[in-house]
Subunit: 150 residues, 2 copies
């Protein structure tokens, strides 16, 4: 169990990393069948006739996998945190069955929250790559993190 982290422990430029997280073909199809049932995500044969040129994970599956890796990298070390939203998210390239993803989270310029006492606002730059270090997703986000005094 890593040491617990508070707002005060974070500084601009710090990097946290976790991985790998593998997306299997079975799970890609299962996730997309529930949430994003387009041919390129659920049907290996039909996917060959699309611009994806073969089965690819739903972008929302890649995003959810990235959240899991953010959790392992640092979120689990916060007593409590809340996502504030996403400023920008880009799917840089398709994720294929068997790809193993790694995520890095870089801390931005933090500040105390004026509306929520006991919490600070921490911008996060998030980048997910595959096993060949090719970027598959990047996003800019922000989180509310508890201060030590709370």
């Amino acid at each position: 169990m890593s040491q617990r982290l508070y707002f005060e422990d974070l500084s601009e430029g710090q990097v946290f990393e976790a991985g790998p997280f593998e997306l299997t073909q079975a799970r890609i199809i299962e996730f997309a069948t529930e949430f994003d049932p387009q041919p390129q995500h659920i049907d290996p044969e039909a996917a060959k006739t699309t611009s994806f040129d073969g089965l690819a994970a739903s972008g929302w599956h890649t995003a959810a996998a990235t959240m899991r890796l953010m959790h392992e990298a640092l979120i689990h070390r916060f007593g409590e945190s809340m996502g504030l939203g996403i400023e920008g998210l880009k799917w840089s390239r398709p994720v294929r069955p068997g790809d193993r993803l790694t995520t890095t989270v870089t801390i931005g310029e933090k500040r105390l929250s004026s509306s929520k006492p006991g919490f600070g606002i921490v911008p996060l730059q998030i980048r997910t790559v595959d096993q060949d270090s090719r970027e598959v997703l990047r996003m800019t986000s922000g989180a509310l993190i508890r201060t030590r005094g709370a």
Copy 2:
């Protein structure tokens, strides 16, 4: 089966809607256990001691449910489409077990793609509300949609 839609069939201000999609407590916990295992998403008792004041769905579960509703509203009517990314996403309020979500998708100012012949770029304004019409998520996105001539 609704009629197939091409880039040419879309015009600014058009609205598509689908729902409801229910998030059960069991599925909220299962999704978060895989992708976002924070106490407020996986443990009804521990969740009471957090700022969420009870179990709430992972924001990524709400986003995935929104994708499903976007699919039902209009994405399934495209022969092929690709998400270009998210310009902004906000989780407006927590989604609770049993909440039934509805999503509206509003078409923005479209243009032909210069880099991908046979496709056009269509901005999408997406808004998801609960059974009491309270906004739970909104985002601005864009999609590549096939033109009729392709």
